[in-house]
């Protein structure tokens, strides 16, 4: 009889602490998701910082915007990647796109023929849906109307290569 009582008590204890454990891990995992989102945002900011200081994208024509991305360089790199595999794995990214956010412009992909009447340059395309992390950047381009460089607001959309 006593053994039965002991057994019931033990089962009750195990069930109770399992429920406590489930609730605790649910809360912990919720915190982990927030942490993962924060890390993703930081990663996107680091990538955009890296890009705006890399020779491939850095705006070097004038010294007054050291963190700007040169849109004309970006367009040339996008063109280059269409014909050459050299830079495909250089940034270790699954997806890389530069979007002009303000002023908005035509919602079309930029080419040499419609630039600057366009608003995005896709450098590395991805066929599958990716979880992208955007980061704000300043975009620089030559404006023939004012005969000066113009700086606009843009976003860099990236998605890191997933481990398979």
């Amino acid at each position: 009889m006593k053994m039965q009582q002991m057994a019931f008590m033990l089962i009750g204890l195990v069930l109770f602490f399992s429920m406590v454990g489930i609730v605790y891990f649910t809360i912990m995992i919720g915190g982990l998701r927030k942490e993962a989102t924060k890390l993703q945002e930081e990663e996107a900011r680091e990538i955009s910082k890296k890009m705006s200081s890399s020779p491939e994208f850095a705006f070097t024509s004038k010294s007054d915007c050291s963190n700007c991305i040169d849109l004309e360089k970006a367009l040339m790199i996008a063109d280059l990647l269409k014909t050459s595999q050299d830079y495909e794995k250089f940034w270790n990214l699954d997806y890389l796109m530069i979007e002009r956010v303000y002023p908005e412009g035509e919602n079309v992909e930029c080419t040499r023929f419609n630039f600057p009447d366009c608003n995005k340059i896709t450098i590395i395309a991805s066929e599958r849906v990716v979880s992208e992390s955007p980061a704000f950047v300043a975009l620089a381009r030559w404006d023939p109307e004012s005969e000066n460089y113009k700086y606009e607001l843009g976003k860099v959309h990236t998605s890191a290569r997933k481990v398979e």
């Binding site: 009889m1 006593k2 009582q5 008590m9 009750g12 204890l13 109770f16 406590v20 609730v23 809360i27 945002e41 930081e42 900011r45 955009s48 915007c65 963190n67 700007c68 956010v101 303000y102 002023p103 908005e104 980061a135 704000f136 950047v137 300043a138 004012s146 000066n148 460089y149 113009k150 700086y151 606009e152 607001l153 843009g154």
Partner: protein
């Protein structure tokens, strides 16, 4: 006398479980309240947005259209009371441009994750009055904020979530 030790043990067990449950709920309450307090966070995304926004070329020229000022320089010109070549006041151009950029970039609305914003440029001088833009954001709820310092001016944006 019928022995009721098994029942006594069960009652004791239930009391212990209730005590542990109460302690757990109190702990959970403190933990969740701490999370709510942490909702007004510094956002790197907003700081980066302000960084990029300060480089934006405005429509204000001080030399008849030869060069145009960016937002950061326009703040300095606003502080000095300058007038743009198109006749508009530098401060008015700065305020309008800031509003347009923020409204276009962030998708504000009741159904959107971002409800409104509170933008301010503090000049820290007596020569120019601070610029304030507030849309649907009273800062009593949760918000994400960021700030950037340029010379002695402080650009601050808080986005209500």
């Amino acid at each position: 006398m019928i022995e009721k030790k098994g029942q006594e043990e069960m009652v004791g067990f239930v009391v212990i479980m209730l005590l542990v449950a109460v302690v757990f709920v109190i702990f959970l309450g403190f933990y969740l309240r701490k999370e709510n307090v942490d909702q007004n966070t510094e956002s790197g995304e907003i700081s980066q947005f302000l960084d990029a926004m300060m480089e934006y070329t405005t429509e204000c020229s001080l030399n008849g259209g030869y060069t145009y000022e960016n937002v950061a320089n326009l703040a300095r010109e606003c502080d000095e009371g300058s007038q743009c070549s198109n006749g508009k006041n530098a401060c008015d151009t700065l305020k309008e441009t800031s509003k347009e950029i923020i409204d276009s970039t962030w998708n504000f609305g009741d159904q959107s994750p971002t409800k409104g914003y509170n933008f301010a440029i503090d000049f820290n001088t007596t020569s120019a009055s601070d610029i304030r833009l507030i849309e649907n954001c009273d800062l009593s709820g949760a918000y994400r904020g960021g700030s950037k310092i340029y010379q002695r001016f402080k650009f601050e944006l808080k986005v209500c979530i």
